[in-house]
Symmetry: C2
Subunit: 195 residues, 2 copies
């Protein structure tokens, strides 16, 4: 590689960006007064100067975009390695997906306000489902419903689950989703009901 992948970054930058991101999450949680997030408020909450914000971000959209990408890259990182070996570990990608969200429930709840986040989360789900369908294709199970229907309905369930404060366990939710699509096995791989 021509560039060092771990260029040392000034710790002040790391600190400042982290503080602004935490401030953003903190402000987004205050849905009570429909708190419009402003650079002023972010700077106050982060206990940094307003001008400092502009040293790192173009505007609030820019900060939000970076946060969205970081959150979803971490999620994808948890899913993708599993694609190859989920037959070994017995953990379905959808379960890894739900477990990661479950472990970062507050973060995902506030991020769901962002349209771009929702779009990208949907795309990750489409990926998970299409890979699953690819595997199932050879196994004789006929696919009846268009993938957009399956993906969007799953997305609806997951969105509801996050917004409701993740009331079910990831395993239970995965089972319910599978039940919905007549996959009569539970998330652990055990047969629930004969077809």
């Amino acid at each position: 590689m021509s560039t060092n992948s771990k260029q040392r970054v000034d710790p002040r930058i790391t600190r400042t960006k982290k503080l602004f991101k935490e401030a953003m999450i903190s402000l987004l949680q205050e849905n009570d007064d429909k708190s419009k997030v402003t650079v002023q408020k972010l700077a106050n909450r982060a206990e940094l100067n307003r001008a400092t914000f502009y040293l790192h971000y173009q505007d609030i959209e820019d900060l939000m975009e970076q946060m969205v990408n970081e959150v979803l890259e971490e999620l994808s990182g948890k899913i993708n390695p599993v694609f190859g070996d989920h037959e070994n570990t017995g953990t379905l990608p959808i379960v890894s997906f739900l477990e990661h969200i479950y472990d970062h429930a507050v973060l995902f709840q506030v991020m769901l306000e962002n349209k771009d986040f929702r779009r990208k989360l949907f795309n990750i789900l489409v990926e998970i489902i299409s890979i699953r369908r690819e595997i199932k294709k050879g196994s004789g199970t006929s696919v009846k419903v268009p993938i957009e229907i399956v993906a969007s309905s799953t997305f609806g369930i997951v969105t509801w689950w996050i917004q409701s404060g993740t009331p079910y366990s990831p395993i239970y939710l995965a089972d319910q989703i599978n039940l919905l699509y007549r996959k009569n096995i539970n998330a652990q791989g055990n047969t629930v009901k004969k077809g």
Copy 2:
């Protein structure tokens, strides 16, 4: 009644409110430059004075709230009368629901940006589904999946359908939704496949 339900309203008010609502929809459609809607822009688009806006609305939130309620009251009006006689007409509430959205696709597409609108649309779906379940309860069909799962997955599908520009017909979509929940009849009431 003590009050006349049709108090005559100054035509200038009707006209002004209509112009502001149209201006709002017009601005919301311009997602290209992430157009933040401002009172300034609304007044320009409506070809009215900025101060006039404040004669009718507290702020932009207030305008949006009124629009959301009007749109969804009209939708509810199309659904509710059907509850009683859908066995006569053969039209399921979910089909009336989808048909109304289909006929006002652009309006619903822009309104979906609003969180309150999404919440209320979801609640209408919950109502439709719970009434349907009430009917099915006596017919021996066992209900396997929690209603929140059914409602949120349906909401996901409908949301996707609206955002994608309503690519399927209401009847086809209703069929797909029913297929998903193992209701083996199509929206016209014909048997599609034996259980």
